[in-house]
């Protein structure tokens, strides 16, 4: 590994571990101190490693972070008075304070932190931001990039979210067994949105967006491998992510533009991720619970089939019907209509598509109508594609629609 890459890489993997362990020790209300200690540790590394690289860089970081934590407890009387009672049962003396940076404790701390951050009292985008900062060790500038925002906005958003969690006296702990399903709902939704942020947003840095997906998968995997959280919906969401991730290499061209499903080189689909997803989908089918993640994972499973068969599209159509009956979303409504066209023919799909008047200002809706009318009524297809072009919000999407308009004349 290049030396200049060593520190950024360690930052990404170790910062979050140090923060999670220290914050769990100090309590969520002192999370800022945990973040400062972790930040100072990396600052010191930047200063001293240039002269001499330690033999075991990760261990060096842990030792320095532990010492800084102990120093902080010793020298900050007010902090110690307030926090000590909480810590005292762990150790009678600050000097003997055991800061446990074992893999097991790191994993536990991160899982508990996940539950602490994913709370309905703060907005979803703030949950995702906090997760990226605290659980994934992303820098503020990276988070700003991922949200196509700026550092100041993100800083404010995270600050407000932490304040709110403090006010709510959020604890870094495992929820009770009888609460876990309810609490997991919020955690899973945050991970789902984090993954989608990386997968579906267009523009920005492709590598960074892929990292968001991989981080969502890493956190989801932590839940899958923990006995208390290894529940059907958790496995279903992980299966869904594996299936989507299997198309990472096929869905982006060399210029960073999205290649739509129909035009992907299926040889680039990742078979290993597909079979992993299939395993987790099977694991998710224990019990009675059928979550939206189950249905979405099943839809994604059928999308991993390369052959365009009647069976494939009929299954996808019925799964979208189920998903919509469970919970409406504009994307599901559009995808359901596309599947109907594939399963029962474009004419039938056009009738259904024309009923979706609530989506009249959605560019994807007019793209869909443009696609359905292609080969049936060229003038109407053109009219919808032009409207889609007008309504589309970014360059990538406009480019794609322009391509479809051009293709009408072929």
């Amino acid at each position: 590994m290049q030396n200049d890459q060593l520190l950024p890489n360690l930052y990404r993997t170790e910062y979050r571990k140090i923060v999670a362990v220290l914050a769990r020790l100090f309590g969520f209300e002192h999370i800022q101190i945990a973040e400062d200690i972790a930040g100072d540790t990396f600052l010191l590394a930047t200063e001293t490693w240039a002269k001499k690289l330690p033999e075991n860089p990760a261990a060096w970081l842990y030792i320095v972070a532990k010492n800084k934590a102990k120093d902080h407890l010793k020298h900050n009387a007010i902090f110690t008075q307030r926090v000590s009672p909480a810590i005292q049962h762990e150790s009678s003396q600050v000097n003997e304070l055991e800061i446990d940076l074992s893999e097991e404790n790191i994993n536990d701390s991160q899982l508990q932190m996940m539950f602490a951050i994913c709370q309905p009292v703060i907005p979803a985008e703030a949950q995702i931001g906090l997760a990226l900062r605290i659980l994934c060790g992303f820098g503020i500038d990276e988070i700003a990039d991922a949200f196509l925002s700026n550092k100041e906005t993100i800083n404010k958003r995270l600050f407000r979210a932490k304040e709110k969690l403090r006010e709510e006296q959020v604890k870094i702990e495992f929820p009770d067994a009888n609460e876990i399903n309810k609490r997991l709902e919020t955690v899973l939704l945050t991970l789902y949105l984090l993954f989608n942020e990386g997968y579906y947003s267009s523009g920005g840095n492709i590598n960074l967006r892929r990292d968001l997906c991989l981080e969502a998968m890493r956190l989801n995997h932590l839940l899958v491998t923990n006995k208390a959280t290894d529940l059907p919906a958790v496995n279903a969401l992980f299966a869904l992510m594996c299936f989507h991730a299997s198309r990472f290499d096929a869905r982006i061209d060399k210029d960073g533009e999205i290649i739509i499903y129909d035009e992907q080189d299926t040889a680039l689909w990742n078979e290993e991720l597909i079979s992993r997803g299939t395993n987790y989908l099977i694991r998710s089918s224990r019990g009675e619970q059928l979550s939206r993640y189950h249905i979405e994972a099943a839809i994604a499973f059928w999308h991993t089939k390369k052959e365009d068969s009647a069976e494939k599209w009929e299954n996808i159509l019925q799964l979208y019907n189920k998903l919509l009956i469970l919970e409406y979303s504009p994307m599901a409504a559009l995808n359901r209509t596309y599947a109907l066209g594939k399963a029962d023919g474009k004419e039938k799909a056009i009738v259904e598509a024309e009923k979706l008047t609530q989506l009249a200002d959605n560019h994807l809706y007019h793209s869909l109508l443009g696609y359905l009318y292609t080969g049936i009524d060229k003038a109407t297809a053109l009219r919808h594609l032009q409207l889609a072009f007008k309504l589309a919000k970014n360059k990538e999407e406009k480019n794609r629609i322009a391509k479809n308009i051009k293709a009408l004349d072929k």
Partner: protein, 114 residues
């Protein structure tokens, strides 16, 4: 937007004669119709299918076995949809698969509790 209860009535003998394979065939138009309503964000509640057997309890304490109306007009199930008017709700009901097998749909606006 208001909520409307759609009540499905059909010949109760019809369901009982279906083989599992035929049942599967009957399911698709229902799923497609309800999926279509849901895609318009007009499905408020996916309701339920009702068993053929039932009992009717009367004010004098007498309990009789159902079906208690004409067997050809037995209650088969219900859903709740969202529509701007009774007319629109009735229009949306035209696609109901029960019509294809001689059944009918009763459309009633739900009056919100005060």
């Amino acid at each position: 937007m208001n909520d409307f209860l759609l009540i499905f009535r059909r010949d109760a003998n019809f369901d009982m004669q279906l083989t599992p394979a035929q049942m599967q065939e009957v399911t698709k138009p229902w799923q497609d119709w309800m999926g279509g309503l849901a895609a318009q964000n007009k499905l408020a509640n996916s309701g339920a299918r009702l068993a053929v057997d039932g009992k009717v309890v009367k004010s004098d304490g007498v309990i009789t076995n159902g079906p208690y109306v004409e067997v050809k007009e037995a209650l088969g199930g219900f859903i709740i949809i969202r529509a701007a008017s009774l007319e629109e709700a009735a229009e949306l009901s035209k696609g109901c698969p029960i019509l294809a097998t001689g059944g009918n749909v009763e459309v009633r606006q739900i009056v919100p509790m005060q």
